[in-house]
Amino acid sequence: MTHYMTPGTDTHDLFENLRMELRRGSLILAVLAALRKEQYGYTLRKTLADQGVAIDEGTLYPLLRRLESQGLLVSEWREEEKRNKRFYHLSAEGKVILKRLLAEWQSINSSLDGIV
């Protein structure tokens, strides 16, 4: 069966889907790397955005919860500037996983450099 793609919107949607897929894995890496230093949600979002990795709270907070339930992050509620904030940082296991993921990412990167 021949599939005819409507130019414009369909191409845009396809690109967006692929871009999201590409970003999904990278976001985890970025979040883990950024949390080598303890931060709370809002400052983490700002840090990532400042580095060009913008992430909305509907993506970030569920991701933080998932990473915490997987044992890669540790969090605690603490008062700062008279307000309770939830601070996150990498767990011992998270540090090991991050190191391995970074090695893997660098390996993929150098392979891709060779291809493209």
Binding site: G41, D56, E57, Y61, P62
Partner: protein, 347 residues
């Protein structure tokens, strides 16, 4: 209530209960931090409009809450009808409707039993299955339409009034109509046309097949003659409602026309209701029922009549309040608006 609390309340409704408080605390902290940053930048407190703009950028609270849920169940018959975002609400509404319906069915059958009637398992089961089918179809249809709307217009929500609203509520379009600046959503017009068409078919069939309204109780129940007298006016009012919806489908800016027509039709409906309430007996003993059970059936019929009477009375009072509110809003709108408001004759 300030916009942030309204927004968080709306998000909270869609969150898993066990994590709700924790997630809301964290989201609240995130949004407050952003607002504080903005205030520091502007060197003044944010206005309500600016707070709302920040919240609007955060996205639809229903969609935001769905991102935190692990439950990704959906309803699909081939294409997906109800996605994971609306699924928990669909289940809640369906459970509530079915629960209420089963309580009513149980009350009817208990009344029949108390009236000395022989209630069979088959009769109970067929009533339950019929109601299950009707409720399931109706609720699924409504939610699949909402899902379609949500897919097409994910940012169609607002923080007006005391809560967060998806812009597909008939009430919100009435409000916009009363302000004279809005449009009648096509979703609403199409829904009215479809619902009215179904109601007309049902009205026509129920005359010949009382089972559709009474279930197995149609063996000894039938509609009183007063229903035949008001059948014509009910059909006429339903048709007029469809005409209004069809006009608004092509002329969505005719919002005041919609409000005025609905107020008139609702008032006419109240007249019909008056005749029904005046008639007293709304269901009577079916033809051919005789013998020793007649007395028991009569007691059951009295109970059913009382139930319908009070039900209609409450419905009538609610409708009366709605008519008065619509007229009051129309008058208020007339005073506050320039000449020929609402009805865009250029459309």
């Amino acid at each position: 209530m300030e916009p942030l609390n309204r927004y968080l309340n709306a998000v909270g409704k869609g969150l898993p209960e066990a994590q709700r408080e924790d997630i809301i605390r964290e989201l609240s902290e995130d949004i407050r931090s952003e607002m504080e940053d903005k205030e520091a930048e502007l060197r003044r407190p944010l206005t309500e409009a600016e707070q709302q703009a920040i919240l609007k950028r955060r996205g639809n609270p229903v969609l935001l809450a769905a991102r935190f849920r692990q439950d990704h169940r959906s309803v699909a018959f081939g294409p997906q009808l109800i996605g994971p975002v609306l699924f928990p609400f669909y289940i809640k509404v369906l459970s509530f409707n079915l629960g209420l319906t089963f309580i009513i069915i149980a009350t009817i059958f208990i009344a029949l039993l108390m009236g000395g009637q022989n209630v069979t398992f088959h009769a109970v089961l067929s009533s339950i299955l019929l109601q299950l089918f009707i409720q399931l179809s109706a609720v699924t249809l409504v939610f699949s339409m909402i899902q379609r709307h949500l897919n097409r217009y994910p940012d169609s929500w607002n923080l007006r009034g005391t809560g967060v609203h998806l812009d597909l509520k008939i009430d919100s379009s009435i409000q916009s109509a009363l302000r004279g600046s809005g449009q009648v959503p096509r979703f609403e017009s199409v829904s009215i046309i479809i619902a009215s068409a179904i109601a007309l078919v049902w009205l026509a069939q129920v005359q010949r097949h009382p089972f559709l309204i009474f279930g197995p109780a149609a063996y000894f129940l039938k509609l009183a003659p007063v229903w035949a007298r008001i059948y014509g006016p009910i059909v006429l009012l339903t048709l007029l409602g469809m005409v209004q919806a069809a006009i608004n489908l092509f002329r969505p800016r005719w919002t005041r026309f919609r409000t005025l027509t609905q107020a008139v039709l609702q008032a006419a409906g109240l007249v019909v209701l008056y005749f029904l309430l005046k008639a007293g007996n709304l269901v009577i003993l079916a033809d051919g029922v005789a013998g020793s059970h007649v007395a028991g059936y009569s007691r059951a019929i009295n109970l059913v009549n009382q139930g319908i009477f009070y039900g209609l009375l409450v419905a009538g009072l609610i409708s009366l309040v709605q008519v008065v509110l619509k007229i009051a809003h129309l008058i208020r709108g007339q005073r506050n608006m320039p000449p020929l408001p609402g009805v865009d004759v250029k459309c």
